[in-house]
């Protein structure tokens, strides 16, 4: 009953028009954060209200929708957002990256390369890359307008002077088309190289902070660095315990009280796909002896 009491994709049409206009301006000015009148959603801030509103504005009944949370299709956040749009938009859903036309993500970019027929929607907690350096919105807005990003380089330099390398490991700032410095949302910096020249449209929604920004396909995205400390995209020096992948981003899972641990792909679809294809890691059941 409730399912039919809502407009298609939950939001009312005027709200969707407002979000759609913001998305178009965001695409026209890559990396610039467009303010929008974010609505209250039937889930708390921090659970992806920005991503959900952007998804609601772009979904059509023909879409196949996928949601990942830290790469996983089966966590609470991903499951509940997926069922939210199953109920309010009636869209097909999937966990397979290649079958999805719209993918909403929290904190990861899928391992499988995306295509021109796909849209990637990011959930963003703090869209302003300069916020922890300068708390005043009036100032950060001025800094963006004047292209005054020296403070960000000072921050990265302080990383180097304190730790010997740039210790920022997620939400690593990027410069878009040589103009705006942008927060790529808290994706690991391992994923940063995938942001640029991507075939898919990338949309970023921050619900609490009321900002939408975007990267059109094939946009130049450069991770900030120094000549003598070039950007690196590191990962754990391990292979996936379940599928044996050496090229994927790994989660570390504590497995018992005696310090046992397992490294496995954070992208569950990628890992399952590899295991279906017969790949086995050292911790795969029945394979431990070989390890």
């Amino acid at each position: 009953m409730t399912d039919h009491a809502y407009n298609f994709a939950y939001l009312d049409e005027q709200t969707k028009r407002m979000i759609r206009r913001a998305i178009l301006k965001a695409l026209a000015i890559p990396g610039y954060q467009v303010p929008f009148a974010s609505r209250e959603m039937p889930m708390p801030y921090g659970w992806g209200t920005g991503g959900v509103q952007v998804s609601a504005a772009v979904l059509t009944p023909d879409d196949t929708f996928k949601v990942i949370d830290q790469g996983a299709d089966d966590t609470t956040n991903a499951v509940s957002i997926r069922s939210f749009f199953e109920r309010t938009a009636g869209v097909a859903t999937t966990t397979a990256t290649i079958e999805a036309s719209v993918i909403q993500t929290r904190h990861r970019i899928p391992e499988a390369p995306l295509t021109e027929d796909q849209i990637l929607v990011y959930q963003v907690p703090i869209p302003e890359p300069l916020r922890f350096l300068e708390p005043r919105e009036s100032e950060t807005r001025k800094m963006h307008s004047l292209e005054e990003y020296g403070l960000m380089h000072v921050k990265l330099y302080e990383d180097i002077s304190r730790h010997g390398h740039i210790a920022t490991s997620y939400a690593y700032p990027v410069k878009v088309e040589g103009r705006y410095v942008m927060d790529p949302s808290p994706i690991p910096k391992f994923d940063n190289p995938k942001l640029g020249d991507m075939a898919a449209i990338q949309l970023f929604g921050a619900g609490r902070e009321q900002r939408i920004y975007a990267l059109p396909p094939y946009t130049e995205v450069v991770s900030l660095d120094f000549e003598d400390h070039p950007f690196e995209a590191p990962k754990a020096d391990q292979l996936c315990g379940l599928c044996g992948a050496e090229d994927s981003y790994l989660d570390e899972v504590i497995t018992d009280d005696t310090g046992g641990r397992l490294f496995c792909c954070s992208d569950t679809d990628y890992c399952e796909g590899r295991r279906k294809a017969g790949h086995r890691g050292p911790a795969f059941p029945g394979n431990e002896a070989a390890a």
Binding site: A9, K16, A22, L27, A28, Y32, P35, P216, Y218, T219
Partner: protein, 187 residues
């Protein structure tokens, strides 16, 4: 009110506008690509594509400028009934619609401010022809380069020079459209 004003809207607004928006978004994200779009049936001289874009994006929050021959009683009544968008002059327009010559000069439209570059007009240019030939386009959204028939090139080069300020364009012809955001370089 004439009966013509009541017809020509979306039959199923939620899903038709969703489909139409995706076409507009694809066009804006991939400058130079030509997209099919339908759903609206605006009065002459507006094209189906221009009318559908207006139905998809405009409402009471978006002042619209009807340029030249697009400013007829029929169009005014149709736009008022289906969108409620207030009519305005070019200097306060969020959307402007009409033929290229009627929309000129471009200096009349807001191009945004350095702190809010998004507060700029989107021009919906109804064209006699739209083809993937003519000017070469490069920039975000374009893999190497694209070509698109533009009414001229100088105006768009000058607009690109304003980046991140500037105007964004949607070219419509019949039931097809293409877009040229301010980020695109035109050769």
């Amino acid at each position: 009110m004439q009966a013509t004003a009541l017809a020509g809207g979306f039959d199923a607004p939620a899903t038709q506008s969703a489909h139409a928006f995706r076409r507009v978004m694809e066009a804006m994200a991939r400058p130079g690509t030509i997209q099919d779009i339908q759903g609206g049936a605006p009065p002459a001289p507006l094209s189906v594509a221009a009318g559908t874009v207006l139905l998809t994006l405009c409402d009471t929050d978006t002042p619209v400028y009807l340029a030249g021959k697009a400013d007829t009683d029929d169009v005014r009544a149709w736009l008022a009934f289906h969108t409620g968008a207030p009519l305005t002059g070019p200097s306060h327009a969020m959307f402007a619609v009409g033929a290229w010559d009627a929309l000129l000069p471009l200096s009349r439209y807001p191009i945004g401010t350095p702190e809010y570059p998004d507060r700029a007009t989107t021009l919906i240019v109804d064209c006699a022809a739209l083809a993937a030939s003519g000017s070469t386009l490069r920039g975000p959204g374009i893999k190497s380069d694209a070509t698109l028939s533009l009414p001229e090139t100088r105006a768009f080069q000058a607009n690109r020079a304003l980046f991140p300020l500037g105007l964004d364009f949607i070219f419509t012809c019949g039931d097809r459209l293409a877009a040229l955001p301010r980020s695109t370089e035109v050769f």
